[in-house]
């Protein structure tokens, strides 16, 4: 990560300024390019699915849209989206919260680190998918097993990043605070934790993306609602158009959530996100 400064509102930092002399086209260029990229892709897909490939295997965009309309009218798709989203958010918040608490302690106290690190190194190779059978036995098929699986996936990403962030707090910064009269505890709260924020946020972003990946198999194997369940039932009935609706929704949901998370970070934590390069 080499972010230098993030323009923040209310922090007195100047945002990137676009000179008025630059043309409208130049300013809209990024958006236009995205639209062009998506447009070309959709058109190509439509063409290939209709004339080259088997439209049953890969339904063209028009067929996917046609399948989407009734799902939206009955509210079916939104129900599944909400269910999956709530599961992800709850598991993610719980996982992040515990990981941050454990992570700062581990990063700061050597004994705790030495005791916990081997176990974490061992457990982190167990993906949420691998944990599905035991989660169902422990927590049943209801919501709790989903919360647990998302929690499991989130916890290790955030933990490892938090520990790294705490440990990489520059010694010079801690010593400077010490010279200014800070106690060990004050250094921890006012210097170490703020210094670790960029690492923690990075860990959370990665964990968020992975949560959207792990909720799907969890819902496919053990649920009666959610996007994974939708995918699973459509698959069993060989409804490729509905499968594509589900796949597109999953992508879109992950993308939107990541953008919202970044916006939230920009609004609240931007001053902590700056890395100061050496002179």
């Amino acid at each position: 990560m080499t972010t230098t400064s993030t323009a923040g509102r209310g922090t007195g930092r100047p945002g990137p300024r676009v000179s008025p002399s630059r043309g409208l086209v130049e300013r809209l260029r990024p958006l236009l390019m995205v639209l062009a990229s998506v447009g070309v892709f959709v058109l190509l897909w439509q063409f290939l699915s209709t004339f080259v490939l088997n439209p049953y295997m890969i339904p063209p965009p028009t067929a996917v849209a046609a399948a989407f309309v009734p799902m939206a009218e009955t509210g079916e798709i939104f129900k599944h989206v909400t269910v999956s989203l709530v599961r992800v958010v709850i598991g993610f918040v719980l996982g992040s919260a515990l990981a941050i608490v454990v992570g700062v302690v581990m990063g700061r106290m050597r004994v705790v680190y030495e005791l916990l690190d081997p176990i974490i190194e061992f457990l982190r190779y167990l993906s949420p998918t691998a944990m599905i059978p035991i989660a169902v036995i422990w927590f049943g098929i209801g919501e709790n097993s989903k919360y647990f699986l998302i929690f499991w996936g989130t916890f290790f990403f955030v933990l490892i990043n938090t520990v790294a962030g705490v440990m990489r707090t520059p010694v010079a910064r801690q010593r400077a605070a010490q010279c200014l009269g800070a106690s060990e505890f004050q250094i921890f709260i006012f210097v170490v934790i703020p210094s670790a924020v960029p690492y923690i946020v990075t860990g959370m972003r990665v964990a968020m993306a992975s949560s959207f990946m792990s909720i799907i198999p969890a819902e496919m194997l053990a649920a009666d609602s959610g996007l994974g369940y939708l995918l699973q039932t459509a698959g069993m009935l060989v409804q490729t158009d509905r499968i594509f609706v589900a796949l597109a929704t999953i992508s879109l949901l992950g993308f939107i959530t990541d953008r919202l998370f970044r916006l939230l970070v920009d609004r609240t934590l931007s001053r902590y996100m700056a890395f100061v390069a050496a002179n």
Binding site: T4, S5, T11, G12, R13, P170, A172, R173, R175, A176, A177, Q178, C179, L180, G181, A182, Q186, F190, V191, P194, V197, R271, Y272, A274, F275, V276, A277, A278, N279
Partner: protein
Amino acid sequence: MLKVERVTKVYGEQEASYLALEDIAIDIADGEFLCLLGPSGCGKTTLLNILAGFESVTRGRVTLDGRDIRGPGQDRVMFFQDAGSALFPWLTVEENVVFGLKLRGTPVRERGAIIDRYLAMVELDTHRGKFPTQLSGGMRQRLQIARALAIEPQILLMDEPFAALDALTRRRMHSFLVDIWQQTQKTIVFVTHDISESILLADRIAIMGVGPGSRFEDVIRVDLPRPRDPGDPAFGEIYRRIERQLALEESKLGDGV
């Protein structure tokens, strides 16, 4: 008075140990500007860390006004070469200065005047809302100076603070530092491996030998009036004397002693 009495510093244990300093002794008077000069790895930072209280001594004693130094204190402030990592990047220029005042318990209504005074002294008063990322290297060093001076320490310990700056900025920083030193009468211990820098700034220059077991090879008093001129023949004479001493140290390195 900062007294260093026969200080020896050994890093590590037994076979893996390294004798960094051996029998270092010097008395640093109040208000004195002392430069520590020596080849890389000779133990300048080690000695400064001992003075700051970040490192303990293996043998010997360090006292400030008769009291043993046991750890860091607000009477001594360390300046780091890398101001970028020493500053708090999430705080503005002004908030960086406030940090120390808060810890010191300075009442809120007195803080404004102190901040104004020290930010003006380092010419950062028009940049108080900026973040460290938005400052140049020289500005960051000046902010480090303002932040430290604001808590009114007796002693400034500076570890090659200007080494990474360009020649012009460095010259400006030198006159800044001398001005501030003359205004505030602080004791300054300044580490450098730049001979000219040491002659430009110091009352006395302590030249350290190569390690292991590095000690002061020579302590030179510089009696030239300030501001000093590198073109002055007396300046050149001191320069050559130090250079000879350092060349001697180099040759010891070459012999593998």
